[in-house]
């Protein structure tokens, strides 16, 4: 009962978010590729689908032919020949060709083996039920973020994929292939966005109660815009309404969350240094509005069952409002 209520509450929030002015990432189709790798995956899908369709039509055509047109029995010899060529040789050769085509595509999906290290490496760690993101640019210090990934259009980015607890799976369908995040391992994935846009990335491997509520937005932007955005992310946000910041620290939020430029240095929950600039909060499920942030602080267990964050509805509502306003101002 409780879970049912909380899930419907979350979907209501989700619906109200997408109806609002906030841009909630929604494009999540592998059939509308906006990246070089996704283009190849989509091509593979269409080739396999066409091959399957031709085979299906052939088999059904033969069936209809045998049932309606030519109902004469075949001689045993020619029947054996039909089985040998149509049932053994043809499928073996066709499957071999389709398999070879899929294997031939593989090196192109992992181009980083050949090139010099990618100009930008992004380390993403899956956690129940959110994404820890660290940018490693070629120059400059690493930049911490969470639940949102930004990429420069036209530049190849290498992703290092890890997990802190259980197996998750990283997938931005319009940009590239799917790759598991396995505890104790670090997997590599290559992505090159070819069109700007905001895309939704879901967790693609069941990881616990709130698996379906674990998502992120991927923002492909012009390279110059990306670089200035990254430069802003590397320095602490100025913040608005310092009272909210003081309350954030006083109520202990800093023991789990980090906010650059403050005493909040917790590493258990998502980094909130620039949370105000993200399209969504709570790992892709809520619009980034003051109201949504306040509701999440009060009852995260209702919005995201099973999350590690405790409910803070014992705080005075005005304090929650002030903290939410302060977080929204961290841009």
């Amino acid at each position: 009962m409780g879970r049912y209520f909380s899930l419907s509450a979350a979907s209501l929030l989700l619906a109200s978010g997408s109806a609002g002015a906030q841009s909630v990432a929604s494009t999540q189709s592998a059939l509308e590729p906006a990246g070089a790798e996704a283009q190849q995956v989509a091509m593979l899908f269409w080739v396999m689908l066409s091959g399957g369709a031709v085979l299906w039509l052939g088999v059904v055509g033969l069936l209809l032919h045998a049932a309606l047109v030519n109902r004469r029995r075949l001689a045993e010899k020619s029947a054996s020949r039909v089985i040998l060529w149509g049932g053994v040789v043809f499928p073996s050769v066709t499957l071999c060709a389709l398999l070879a085509y899929a294997l031939w595509l593989m090196p192109g999906l992992r181009p980083f083996a050949q090139a010099s290290p990618a100009a930008l490496r992004i380390e993403v760690t899956g956690k129940q039920f959110w994404w820890d993101v660290v940018y490693h640019p070629a120059q400059g210090p690493p930049v911490a973020s969470a639940n949102e990934i930004r990429l420069p259009v036209g530049e190849r980015v290498e992703l290092t994929l890890k997990s802190a607890d259980v197996i998750h799976s990283f997938w931005i369908p319009p940009l590239g292939g799917k790759m598991d995040m396995i505890p104790g391992r670090s997997n590599r994935l290559s992505i090159m966005a070819t069109k700007p846009g905001i895309f939704r990335g879901p967790c693609a491997e069941y990881c616990g109660t709130s698996h379906a509520l674990m998502a992120f937005s991927a923002v492909a932007m012009a390279p110059e815009a990306f670089r200035s955005w990254l430069a802003v992310q590397a320095i602490p946000a100025e913040g608005a309404g310092a009272s909210g910041g003081a309350l954030f620290l006083r109520h202990g939020c800093g023991s789990c969350h980090s906010v650059a430029g403050t005493d909040a240095r917790g590493l258990i929950g998502p980094d909130l240094s620039h949370v105000g600039s993200r399209a969504t909060v709570a790992a892709g499920i809520l619009p980034n509005t003051e109201d949504a942030v306040a509701r999440f602080i009060a009852r995260p267990d209702l919005i995201k069952p099973g999350s590690s964050m405790p409910a803070f509805d014992m705080l005075p509502p005005d304090d929650i409002r002030a903290i939410a306003a302060w977080l929204r101002g961290l841009r």
Binding site: S80, L99, A100, L103, W104, M106, P107, A113
Partner: protein, 126 residues
Amino acid sequence: MRLVPKQIETLWTLFTAPVVWAAHFLVCYIGAAIYCAKPELVELSFSAVRAGIAAATVIALSLIALSAWLAWQQWGFGTDDPPHDDPTRRDRTLFQGFATLLLSGLSFIAVIFTALPALFLTECIR
């Protein structure tokens, strides 16, 4: 000298081809996995691994082809058509020969499918 006795009364010939397929599969996958996990163990390039897989594939295909030829022989070179379901020694032998021949064909294709990635993958990570 005969390679195998004319009258084969063991089920083992039936399993030869699938066992070769299994052995080839393990050699390819375990070999590549160990090489890629611990490249410092052996001073070899990935081309050597691919050459090794190619050699294992040639050996496996030859053994399966031999098994198929022996099965064809046991089946009487296809003079009788299946089903061989009479309760006679002759039909039992023919049935075993035919089944072995089909299993050899399956194993032959499976070995090719197992080895096919090595034709396209040029490095451990791609």
